[in-house]
Amino acid sequence: MHIVVCVKQVPNTTQVRIDPETHTLVRDGVESVMNPFDENALEMALQLKEKHPGTQVTALTMGPPQAEAVLKEAVGRGADQVMLLCDQAFAGSDTWATSYALSRAISQMAPPPDLVLFGKQAIDGDTAQVGPGVADWLNLPCITYAYGIEIDGGMATVQRSFEDGYETLEVALPCALTVVKEANVPRMASLRGKMAARKLTIEPTTAAAIGADPDKIGLAASPTRVMKIFSPPPKTGGVMWQGEEPAAMARKLVEALRERQLI
């Protein structure tokens, strides 16, 4: 079996700050890490590899040269191959153009993947569009918000998680999945894996190498136009009681809620 996991390098923070002047992400002084949901996707792939010997796991990312760090992290944890899509021509790609570029890269891979995994979304952009986008370009069935998978004879049984319940689906391989946090606890890189990753030289793969149509990649080809990005104003006000007996404070809270006719 061949599993491709798409991973993204993101700033290591769940509270991405935005420059109020330029409306862009403030990346200075923020360490870069693998997108947390992508870690769950990679872990799902590595667990399938343990269960199905002979499975190959490929980690794929698109980004600037320093994005190779997430691929090395993936190798440290057990990925067998990596691909770094890195070319000036990709710069400024939105989710549509990114999905196209990733799908081109995947369609060039041999053997073709049986499973393409993504994190459910990236914690910087939070769009959750790239996984389904790639699946669409590749014409693969796509199951979003997956937390469990069993593979048997060319079929996958996939558990999906929603806010209000669960769903179990059966799907023929190849297929694409976006994975939620509840799927697993991502492993840490092993010592031997880290050593192997350190020695690894990752050659960037260009737009030409994957036969990408220049009219479908980069900023110019991206239909998304960001009108405005802003940090929501911090919540102000609120009433705090402290230092009193818990019972007295609870009474005040109940009174306040009654006054506002909330209870």
Partner: protein
């Protein structure tokens, strides 16, 4: 944070950062629960095995990553101990059980028993102590009698760390009572050997995540090929093991004391009394200063001893004893002081320092009490100065 330059190798630094992150993310969240329930850290050790962290002291040819530098293993013990020595002793005791095989075992024994320890698939244990043979090995009652191509073991071992959890046991038994210490032999005994069973799990003051049990041998037939070295060499393996393992106890002590110092300073900076953080009081900040100085001194001594051992020194029993006794006394002092710094909160189980203080005590007792360590140092001084006078 400013650090002394210990000239750590790239591998040692890598291990330190890996183990630090591992201890914070995997051990810290569960340590109180493991302590409260006296629960063995099976999952934690299994994950460490997958991360290649169980074979740091085992040579490459037997599946580990050891290539002459003992500091990566020592630092792994230290970083794990900074968070929980109940977990770190379960890790370190496997190394203790493996040491006699590493030191005195033949190639077949090493090939058979070391790789599964390096991968974390199996754990080991070291079985020397008996009810009547603690510091004084001459009280040993467990016997091994040769019968055909087996040895028949009879007797009881007490307070064996990893007892019941380990698959591979290094067991010391008397093969020739008339020869005293020279009549003791060491055997590799596998769990599941008929006649080998376990007593109850001990309920302990500290290191409660670790498993401590009695080992019971009743006409237990062990293949003669499992004898380590020759008959009568057991006591040598036992003592040589302690010479290399005592710095591991020192590393536990350094890590534990560092963990307690971390808690104490962090608390002293945020706890306000009389309108200012308590660290602003000289009486308290001097206490913290002494704690920090002792921890660093213990670390420096321990690393220096390990470097001396790695350099091929022949006689280092004195130094191994020195780092064990010094670091463990520091750990007891620093954890006690940490409880004092946290005051009433420190005494409560909501905060981790009471556990650290309970845990620290064993470091002054196991692998030779601190009184025995001082005996070893004193004897060495007597001998060295006598030689110098001649």
């Amino acid at each position: 944070m400013a650090e002394l330059n210990y000239g750590l190798s790239e591998l040692a630094q890598e291990i330190r950062s890996m183990m630090r992150e591992f201890a914070q993310t995997r051990v810290k969240p569960v340590r109180a629960e493991l302590d409260e329930n006296g629960q063995f850290p099976t999952e934690i050790l299994r994950e460490m095995g997958k991360m290649d962290l169980m074979g740091l002291y085992i040579p490459v040819e037997y599946g580990g990553t050891f290539e002459g530098d003992s500091l990566p293993n020592l630092i792994a013990v230290e970083e794990l101990s900074r968070v929980c020595i109940g977990v770190s002793v379960s890790y370190a005791a496997t190394g203790l059980g493996a040491d006699p095989i590493l030191i005195g075992g033949n190639d077949d024994q090493k090939k058979k028993y070391l790789p599964p320890l390096a991968s974390g698939e199996k754990l080991a244990a070291y079985a020397l102590t008996e009810p009547n043979a603690g510091s004084d090995v001459s009280g040993m009652r467990t016997t091994a009698v040769k019968k055909g191509d087996t040895y028949i073991l009879n007797g009881t071992k007490q307070w064996i760390t990893n007892g019941g959890e380990a698959d591979i046991y290094t067991v010391f038994a008397v093969t020739d009572k008339a020869r005293g210490a020279r009549g003791v032999s060491a055997f590799i005994v596998e769990k599941g050997t008929p006649g080998f069973s376990f007593g109850k799990k001990e309920n302990k003051l500290g290191i409660r995540a670790s498993a401590t049990r009695e080992l019971i041998f009743e006409d237990c037939a062990v293949p003669a090929e499992n004898l380590i070295g020759r008959e009568g060499t057991g006591f040598i393996w036992a003592m040589k093991t302690f010479d290399v393992s005592r710095p591991g106890i020192a590393a536990q002590a350094v890590g534990l004391a560092q963990g307690a110092l971390d808690e104490a300073v962090t608390y002293a900076k945020v706890r306000e009394q009389f309108g200012r953080p308590i660290i602003a009081n000289q009486g308290l900040s001097w206490m913290l200063a002494d704690m920090a100085t002792q921890v660093e001194a213990a670390r420096a001594l321990t690393y220096a001893v390990v470097r001396t051992i790695d350099s091929g020194a022949k006689d280092y029993s004195k130094f191994s004893a020195m780092c064990k006794v010094y670091a463990s006394d520091v750990a007891m002092q620093v954890t006690t002081d940490a409880v004092q710094v946290l005051g009433g909160y420190g005494y409560m189980k909501e905060y981790p320092v009471e556990k650290m203080m309970r845990d620290a005590k064993i470091l002054q007792i196991y692998e030779g009490t601190n009184q025995i360590q001082r005996d070893i140092i004193g004897l060495a001084l007597n001998k060295e100065y006598a030689a110098a006078a001649r």
